[in-house]
């Protein structure tokens, strides 16, 4: 993935004996891909949104 040719292969911050650390430290961090699906109202979802408050008012279980 990366080309570090010509860059000393050291990761420590102090660079070790007589050298310098030009290479990035190995300290991986996951970067999961985000979900970017559009919001799409479904009939079921809309019905649930409308009926839920009604259920709350009437005390019906809705089940």
């Amino acid at each position: 993935m990366t080309d570090t040719a010509g860059i000393p292969d050291r990761a420590s911050r102090d660079g070790g004996a007589g050298g310098w650390a030009g290479r990035l430290p190995d300290a991986p961090l996951a970067m999961p891909k985000q979900r970017l699906e559009p919001w799409a109202p479904s009939v079921r979802g809309l019905l649930a949104a409308v009926l839920r408050p009604l259920d709350a008012r009437t005390g019906r279980s809705g089940g």
Partner: protein, 600 residues
């Protein structure tokens, strides 16, 4: 934690948004109704209604910008919380992504920032990483050579890193993502820069303090000032950015609260928040609307906000700089990329879970590119209305001997024109008056010079507007039809364009202007005079492109960064002089004494 951003409460943010929306809706509805009345004087037809709708949209957009300026003028947000001035504890890395840039100039900026940080005494907590995506092997070789020089001069072993990707997947966003996946856990914060960014060490430290003080602050954006402009175009843009932008940015900061912007550079991120929230998938389908997300910064800001992180613009932070394009063609090229990126956001408007303001930010980006098309469509519809206009019928009722004269609604049309012109000019005028009253003009060379500069800038931007409108229109159409732009090469390196290059870049605009003017003269001669302010700059576009790319020698357009340069700017020039003997336009030369990379 505060419910909003820069020290203003949630009510303040909602109030600011409501005020700006109310002003914009009121202004656009007024314009819409005035135009309908004007059109109805001789009978309302479809073209009248269409033009009124275009006026509605265009006026909304103009009024929105004006409201932002008014908010910026009339509000002073409280300073944000910051950690006490004890030693900072967080580890920060300054990321400098490069892509075929001039390594001498870029690395001199890094050396200057490192020296500036050293002066704060906090340099031990801050590292640098140059993330190269350079494709040109010669430039890549120079990067390695100059990196060795940078390390040697700054004694920066283990503090400044360099890596080059063999494939630049995902462009800049992919470059940073690769860094985070490989090394992100080594630091708490990352300051993301562009190759032409420059920041004071004290500003970087202040940003770290603010990030430390607010654990939910995921991203802190500064307002970079444009520096180093030499050409007429560049210096005018630089003046406008320094004189007007801070006020508009303050207005923006008042409205956005915790859902602020990310402009891709000169901003600090909390790395773990960014890693957890901002992994960008490629969108399905081919470009321009599918594939990698081009304008990733807006999306990353929206995703951070979606995950509950605060994204904030701290417009009070100084010491943050960037360079701008030196000519209209470079400006238009950059704008072409941004246009595609912003239009691509149309696919993300309804992404699940985004904050409403993030969606509105996407919509604003899209509007900023398509609004000029509304004006163009309005002009074309007005010409069509003249051509297809039915002759007046003075005797509409049969057997009625007295003529019926249409109402004279010209006063309303003139009032509408004055109102729209006012929306364009009034915010700038008020900012200028505020600068005079507050003494801010001292940074621009005093009252007389600042007033002259602002007047010339107004004239300059009015002349440029039709030319930029045409470039923007072409960009939008190219994106919609999936066509890539063609640009003339500029090999001079200093941004100057010859008249021939002006013709290559803008000859089509001159032809369009001349053809439009001739066509209108043939079909609706009464409109010619009205079109001259738009058509004349179009006809002269090649000349304007070339003339504005030349060095400015007028003494106008002075900005604070010239009269009282930030120390880091002086440092960068000194380093450039030491490295190449030239402070302004470094050559891509190999560094003395650095014939080969310094292997350990």
């Amino acid at each position: 934690m505060s419910g909003a951003g820069r020290g203003q409460g949630r009510d303040g943010v909602l109030g600011a948004r409501l005020l700006a929306f109310s002003i914009s809706v009121l202004a656009s509805l007024t314009a819409f109704l005035l135009f309908l009345q004007f059109g109805a004087a001789d009978g309302l037809d479809g073209l009248d209604i269409g033009r009124a709708a275009l006026i509605l949209l265009s006026t909304f957009w103009l009024a929105w910008g004006a409201a932002q300026g008014l908010l910026g003028l009339t509000t002073r947000p409280a300073p944000p919380p910051r950690a006490p001035a004890a030693a900072i504890t967080a580890r920060t890395v300054v990321l400098v992504p490069v892509y075929n840039e001039d390594p001498v100039a870029t690395f001199a900026r890094i050396a200057a920032m490192d020296a500036s940080l050293e002066a704060t005494g906090e340099e031990a907590q801050v590292d640098f990483a140059i993330l190269s995506d350079t494709r040109n092997e010669t430039i890549a070789e120079h990067e390695r050579l100059w990196f060795a020089r940078l390390i040697r001069d700054r004694r920066a072993a283990g503090r400044i890193f360099y890596r080059r990707r063999s494939e630049n997947i995902g462009k800049k966003a992919g470059n940073i993502e690769e860094f985070i996946q490989r090394s992100g856990a080594a630091w708490d914060f990352a300051l993301i820069l562009d190759a032409d960014s420059l920041m004071e060490g004290a500003t970087i430290v202040e940003m770290i303090r603010r990030m430390e003080a607010e654990p939910r602050l995921g991203l802190l954006q500064t307002l970079p000032r444009v520096i180093g402009a030499r050409s007429r175009f560049g210096r005018t843009m630089q003046f406008a950015a320094a004189f007007y932008s801070p006020v508009f940015a303050r207005g923006l900061a008042m409205m956005q609260g915790r859902t602020g912007p990310f402009w891709g550079h000169n901003a600090m991120i909390r790395i773990r928040a960014f890693a957890a929230s901002c992994g960008l998938p490629a969108l399905d389908g081919p470009p321009p609307f599918g594939g990698h997300i081009l304008s990733h910064d807006y999306v990353e800001a929206a995703l951070l906000a979606r995950a509950g992180w605060t994204v904030r613009l701290d417009d009070d932070l100084g010491g943050s700089f960037e360079e701008g394009p030196e000519n209209i063609v470079d400006h238009a090229k950059r704008d072409r990329r941004w246009c595609q990126g912003n239009l691509q956001h149309g696919r993300l408007l309804f992404v699940r879970g985004l904050k409403g303001w993030s969606r509105w930010t996407f919509a604003q980006g899209i509007l900023s590119y398509i609004a000029p098309l509304f004006w163009l469509a309005f002009i074309l519809a007005s010409v069509a209305a003249q051509v297809f206009h039915a002759p007046l019928d003075y005797f509409p009722e049969a057997n009625w001997p007295f003529p019926a004269f249409p109402l004279d609604e010209r006063a309303k049309a003139i009032g509408l024109g004055v109102g729209i012109f006012g929306l364009l000019v009034l915010p700038k005028l008020l900012v200028a008056l505020d600068a005079l009253a507050s003494g801010r003009v001292r940074g621009f060379g005093g009252a007389a010079r600042a007033t002259a500069s602002a007047t010339v800038e107004l004239a300059f931007s009015s002349i440029l507007a039709p030319v930029l409108l045409m470039f923007q229109t072409r960009s939008v159409l190219q994106v919609l039809f999936g066509i890539d732009g063609g640009w003339p090469a500029n090999n001079r390196g200093d941004g100057r364009l010859s008249l021939r290059q002006g013709v290559e870049a803008a000859g089509w605009i001159a032809l369009s202007g001349a053809a439009g003017l001739a066509g209108v003269y043939l079909v609706a001669p009464g409109l010619v005079l009205w079109l001259v302010p738009v058509a004349l700059p179009m006809c002269l576009a090649p000349l304007i492109v070339s003339w504005t790319s030349r060095d400015s020698r007028s003494g106008l357009m002075t900005v604070p960064s010239e009269l009282d340069p930030s120390p880091v700017i002086g440092r960068q020039r000194e380093i450039l002089r030491a490295w190449t003997g030239a402070a302004e336009s470094p050559a891509r030369a190999a560094p003395a004494g650095a014939a080969a990379p310094a292997h350990a």
